[in-house]
């Protein structure tokens, strides 16, 4: 329906038409008309963050936990530049966002006006697409197109830069009809011949593995259901990247655990020795492959991905299938069933025997302590005490993130929000806020490090304002632990600037913000303290004092292959010189 209204009103109208009920943002001169329009209605709720980076990560948490497009609204200049990290984060992890930025009036663009910056220029490299709206006539189309681009194909962040005069101008609003984009039409269905070829390869495989990733989560819950069916039908072992955790349940009998740099022994060895790798919605990232020329040398590789540029980018594959995971999985499962296809049972049995042998290595095992809380133990207890609740986990970045991925077990998709591609410290708290906004009755826990949490600590104030009872569970090792670990491995144990000096008293900090603070350092008291956290109906900072110099294992050192992992015993006890484990080439890598 065509209606006359101002540009600012069109923005709000389009949000409603796109089903958006929550916007994360921060006001400023260049977006005041939009704030005025938001003020005069109730359908779209605005959440005031304390820093625009927080708005972007909150929108990411919202998007990741719901499958919807996350929306943020920021002012021109510093508002836009503060959002850049969050946009880049969303680009690397393929999270659908629409970011509305204010801009100086069109006649001032290019004049270095107050709070002017070249937002479309700056965000060109960290968005899937962006728009500068030059006239009110273009606005309705661009608003709806932006949502379409953000959520279609491989999802990603889209910026709409809105000059202030366009926000004030009047024009005719058009709803989201005919939003079929004239050029951007990603292919959803996979090529049937190739799908059949893939199924033929799968029936013949003797040592197969399913390697899955965040693409399954992006494809929606149906993709996870279909994936589970495929595993059931084939009996194949399955592993996943950090981004794909929860697509297949951690309790499922074919689950190998996460793969990659801090993945399990069994997952990485299965990848290395397989004869058929079926990659579904993952992208052969360097954290996954390790040394490329030694990556799964003897396997045929099938790659299912919606983004053609992901195919053959890092690893050459034998059979690419371009399409949406859910669509392709649906065809695979349907044909497998209809034609009563069979995997090679005998070969699989001996493959599983080998895998179970690797499993016996118990690569996630760690030495417990009666006197200090081991970080892995803290996650284990958190998991045991929250697993039967409606729980969502976010993380910051560092060792605690990897321990969370290893020791918190996910049964469903969309329950795990972490910064994978960009590795952004400061992601977890705002992401938890966005997640809690979407799921008010759920238990949302940010598993944090004491260094990371300080990067967006200010968002505690947001949590208090909106009565969002997020739990910040800090594994406080008084180090930027992951940096310290690398310095131990690569730089002779010279811990340059990685000690977390002058930390605040987190309990008092929680109270200063109006939340609740808990400190625990005794393993015997941990369960009680975690229960206190869960039972407190407001934001909590849990300062969990853990073993300070614990390392995160298993680990594939930089520049090494999947079958050259470091295991806990090796690193902790055998007394070998870890400095020699990474060679000169490896040191150059990140």
């Amino acid at each position: 329906m065509a209606k006359q209204m101002t540009g600012a009103q069109m923005v709000v109208e389009a949000l409603k038409d796109q089903g958006v009920d929550t916007v994360f943002g921060y006001p400023g001169g260049a977006v005041l008309p939009i704030y005025d329009a938001i003020f005069q209605q109730d359908a779209v709720k605005h959440v005031l963050v304390r820093h625009e980076q927080g708005a972007a990560h909150a929108a990411e948490g919202f998007a990741r936990s719901t499958g919807k497009v996350g929306v943020l609204l920021v002012t021109s200049g510093p508002g836009a530049t503060n959002a850049i990290t969050g946009l880049t984060d969303a680009l690397l992890d393929s999270i659908p966002l629409v970011c509305l930025t204010g801009q100086v009036p069109t006649h001032l663009i290019g004049s270095d006006a107050f709070q002017e910056c070249d937002t479309v220029g700056i965000t060109r490299h960290c968005t899937k697409h962006n728009y500068l709206v030059r006239s009110i006539e273009d606005l309705p189309r661009i608003l709806h197109e932006a949502f379409y681009v953000a959520r279609s194909g491989r999802p990603g962040p889209v910026v709409i830069d809105l000059p202030k005069d366009v926000q004030f101008a009047s024009g005719t609003y058009q709803g989201p009809v005919n939003i079929q984009h004239k050029t951007y039409q990603p292919k959803l269905k996979g090529d049937m011949d190739r799908i059949r070829e893939a199924l033929a390869m799968m029936q013949k495989a003797k040592r197969p593995v399913l390697y899955t990733g965040g693409g399954i989560i992006n494809s929606g819950p149906v993709a996870s259901t279909l994936l589970r069916e495929l595993v059931e039908l084939t009996g194949f072992p399955i592993t996943s990247t950090l981004m794909g955790l929860g697509a297949y349940p951690a309790s499922g009998k074919n689950w190998l655990g996460m793969l990659g740099m801090h993945g399990t022994y069994e997952a990485n060895h299965t990848m290395h020795d397989c004869d058929l790798m079926v990659c579904i919605g993952a992208r052969f990232d360097d954290r996954i492959t390790g040394r490329l020329d030694a990556f799964s040398p003897g396997s045929k590789k099938i790659h299912i991905d919606i983004d053609p540029s992901s195919i053959n980018k890092n690893v050459k594959v034998d059979l690419p299938i371009v399409g949406d995971c859910a669509h392709v999985l649906e065809d695979m499962v349907r044909i497998w069933r209809a034609e009563s296809m069979k995997a090679d049972k005998e070969a699989l049995a001996s493959w599983w025997k080998q895998i179970n042998h690797w499993r016996e290595r118990k690569s996630l095992a760690f030495r417990t302590s009666k006197t200090t809380i081991k970080p892995q133990y803290a996650i284990q207890r958190l998991y045991e005490l929250t697993k039967n609740r409606n729980c969502y986990i976010t993380t910051e970045v560092g060792q605690h993130q990897m321990w969370a991925a290893q020791h918190y077990h996910f049964e469903e998709p969309n329950r795990w929000m972490t910064s994978g591609g960009l590795g952004t410290m400061g992601y977890g708290l705002p992401a938890a806020i966005g997640t809690q906004m979407a799921h008010p009755d759920a238990l949302v826990v940010d598993i944090a490090g004491e260094a990371s949490i300080l990067m967006n600590m200010q968002e505690m104030s947001t949590a208090v304002q909106y009565r969002l009872p997020v739990k910040i569970f800090i594994l406080n090792n008084e180090y930027m632990g992951m940096v310290r670990q690398w310095q131990e491995l690569l730089h002779g144990g010279r811990y340059a600037e990685s000690y977390s000096n002058s930390l605040p008293d987190f309990v008092k900090l929680a109270e200063a913000y109006g939340g609740h603070g808990i400190r625990c350092s005794d393993p015997a008291d941990l369960d009680r303290a975690i229960m206190e956290m869960i039972d407190t109906p407001k934001p909590v900072i849990f300062d969990c004092l853990v073993e300070k110099e614990e390392n995160c294992f298993p680990m594939i050192p930089s520049g090494k292959a999947h079958n050259e992992m470091l295991l806990a015993e090796l690193g902790d006890d055998a007394g070998i010189e870890i400095g020699s484990v990474i060679d000169e080439k490896g040191k150059m890598l990140v």
């Binding site: 479309v120 220029g121 060109r124 490299h125 899937k128 697409h129 500068l132 681009v149 984009h181 004239k182 050029t183 951007y184 360097d286 492959t289 040394r291 490329l292 020329d293 990556f295 983004d307 053609p308 540029s309 195919i311 053959n312 980018k313 890092n314 690893v315 050459k316 520049g559 090494k560 080439k585 490896g586 150059m588 890598l589």
Partner: protein, 182 residues
């Protein structure tokens, strides 16, 4: 590929085959910023641009055609095509070097200065290359030459000892042969 990448144990077998020159034809919406997106992609991902031309080719449909000559292994060039296809206002990317026969032309203006025998030699060579004189003074000529980039290279080399002053080239425009569009 830079030295670090060549050293890296993460560098794959991809990209180890022979480096070739490819001509890509890219159909885009003629909207602000589209060229910046294309150029930014090349610089951001470390791809080469040997030459780049752009102009509107269909006014009513607001379409422009960008012709890019790039170098890379076949795998890298395929990756470039796919990365270009991700850019939202790009309609179509065709690698003319693999899609069949195509024509390539470039225009150059070449300023040559000299007197006496050099002047005659320049004119003789220009005639042989079918270059046109588009400006002349007592001591200089400007030649206009259209052809394959290689032909222009050759002509420029021949003019160098005679008194080459400067060259302005358009970069390559290209089109597929036969009745079909790209």
């Amino acid at each position: 590929m830079n030295d670090i990448a060549a050293l890296s144990p993460y560098s794959s077998s991809i990209g180890k085959s022979k480096v070739e020159s490819h001509t890509l034809s890219v159909l885009v919406d003629n909207e602000p910023g589209v060229l910046a997106r294309v150029v930014g992609l090349f610089s951001g991902r470390g791809y080469n641009i040997e030459s780049l031309t752009v102009a509107e080719t269909a006014h009513a449909e607001h379409l422009s055609r960008i012709t890019i000559v790039t170098t890379g292994t076949p795998e890298v060039v395929e990756q470039i095509s796919h990365q270009l296809e991700r850019i939202v206002p790009i309609h179509k990317v065709t690698d003319l070097s693999v899609s069949g026969k195509h024509m390539e032309r470039e225009l150059a203006m070449i300023k040559v200065c000299g007197r006496g025998e050099n002047r005659n030699e320049a004119l003789r060579l220009a005639e042989a290359f079918k270059a046109k004189v588009i400006d002349a003074t007592i001591e200089s000529f400007i030649f206009e030459l259209t052809g394959q980039p290689r032909k222009i290279d050759d002509f420029v080399e021949l003019m160098r000892p005679i008194g080459l002053v400067e060259v302005s080239r358009t970069g390559v425009a290209a089109i597929t042969r036969g009745p079909q569009p790209m």
